[in-house]
């Protein structure tokens, strides 16, 4: 394993927080339901590898996402009542928030849309209506002392609407922050964005008075652009990056590959740039290889494949 450089390159953050989505976003998209004990072991392995923030599950309706029907049981199995800032849980609606509060969760994420069509299809709402829906959820979560993240989907392109204007993303993001969210995750849900668009959106967010330390980026590798877009974000000062251990969340061997950026590939770049992550890459690779065996197919992470071949 190559040793990281001592100091980060000029203009880059010295440390990046990786927000790990493989357990929730990854396993949610698996065809099979992963057993609770495997999920819990996955979380523990990731934590042992130094992954600081792990989105652990979602209080979505089990009818919609049977893969995560064990949300409350998983949190109970993991212990500490989930009352740690480092294990956020996705909450899609007021009912999900009820369940999160009951489970003793201390940090949640909600899932908004930058486009009208995705708001209709994914939230069964309108672009404006989503704020009426999220408003009471965020307000109550904050009153409960929770930390709240908000995903903004389709920030760089939408399968139905095509290009998305940066101004529209900024407007949605600003309104979500005004509701009281602590952090935004700016998502390229279909993976079509390129670095110039990323810079335009980030410039817009900063221009709208949103602090850099409240902005995370979330890129998909559908068109191979995730890591380049991340690099462009780092150069703008972003220091929170979403990624998925082993690239879980989309099968590279399926025709409709929609994989998340693999945490290992991200860590390889960050450590190469001298940026601290707190992650032990060898342990992380071992974890993803272990999980790939459980899922019965190879990891889509290039680093996992490359280092796995050496072992």
């Amino acid at each position: 394993m190559r040793s990281p450089q001592v100091r980060p390159a000029e203009g880059l953050p010295s440390r990046v927080t990786i927000y790990e989505v493989g357990v929730r976003d990854g396993l949610q998209n698996e065809k099979t339901i992963v057993p609770l004990d495997v999920k819990a072991e996955f979380v523990r392995h990731l934590e042992d590898a130094g992954v600081g923030v792990i989105e652990t599950t979602s209080f979505v309706s089990p009818k919609w996402v049977p893969q995560l029907a064990d949300a409350a049981d998983l949190l109970a199995e993991l212990g500490e009542s989930g009352r740690v800032r480092t294990r956020p849980v996705l909450v899609p609606n007021p009912k999900g928030l009820d369940r999160a509060i009951e489970a003793g969760v201390s940090s949640i994420a909600v899932f908004g849309s930058a486009t009208e069509t995705f708001a209709a299809r994914n939230l069964n709402n309108t672009l404006d209506g989503q704020f009426d829906m999220f408003g009471p959820v965020v307000e109550r979560a904050k009153a409960e002392g929770m930390w709240v993240r908000c995903y903004v989907s389709m920030c760089f392109g939408d399968p139905w609407e095509g290009d998305v204007a940066p101004e529209q993303v900024v407007s949605v993001a600003r309104r979500l922050m005004d509701l009281g969210c602590d952090e935004l995750s700016i998502g390229d849900t279909i993976g079509v964005g390129t670095p110039g668009q990323v810079e335009a959106v980030l410039d817009g967010l900063l221009g709208a008075g949103i602090d850099l330390d409240r902005i995370a980026v979330h890129f998909h590798d559908t068109y191979g652009q995730a890591l380049s877009n991340t690099l462009a974000s780092l150069r703008k000062g972003v220091s929170i990056v979403d990624s998925s251990a082993g690239g879980l969340g989309g099968c590279p061997y399926a025709k409709s590959a929609t994989g998340n950026l693999a945490t290992e590939d991200l860590v390889w770049m960050l450590h190469g740039l001298g940026i601290e992550t707190g992650i032990d890459l060898e342990k992380l690779v071992e974890t993803s290889m272990w999980m790939a065996e459980r899922l019965g197919r190879p990891s889509s992470s290039a680093v996992v494949r490359a280092l796995g071949a050496r072992g």
Copy 2:
């Protein structure tokens, strides 16, 4: 298909020349020997898609690389005596140059090493000795009026030596230019490099008086870093990038994945950044899907997979 932006982002080149290596480097690494007529059709499809420079074959010994034993026949089949600047041919040694001259080739590439161990293993020579070997080849090629490129391998890491000092890469590159080479291709042969290293090497080359328009970059996606490293190179002003249609040159499904950067993934980023390439991406994707069918396995290009799934 998304329409490119009108103007390139600040500080980036307005146009990039893609040096296509899929026909030579890609097919050389296939287990099966691709028939001559398929190779010729591949080259013609690529040219029809607007790919400007295509490394067409190699005059390497057929004993070592039987996949390219048809080098002279392929050039004859393609016509124009190969006497165009846009169809360079790899030439490993004086004997290869004899064959290239006989075939009427007008531009060649030679293949050097930035490290002692790779010079020993790949060139059966020493780091210093390679200049004695290439010197007469380059001199004779130039006397014949040829254009000469030189690859420099292992510029960012070596499987036996580990890290490679930027100063060593610069020293090798400078000596190759002093032999009379027209263009350098700075290669990350094992795909381990990250953007900070890329910037350090490029700074070193420019500091040694090598012109920007003589520097190409050649990245492998073994650790998922190829496109990020390309972006870092573009920001340094590099405007010649090596890539491989469909990512040919390493099977992503094999454990020892060593794929070249896929031309389609590169073009997606460049067009998104408003950088001209002269390439029709839809035609290129069709070509790579056609070639993938001939090879009997899916393309490793994310863009080919994503757009292919839509078709």
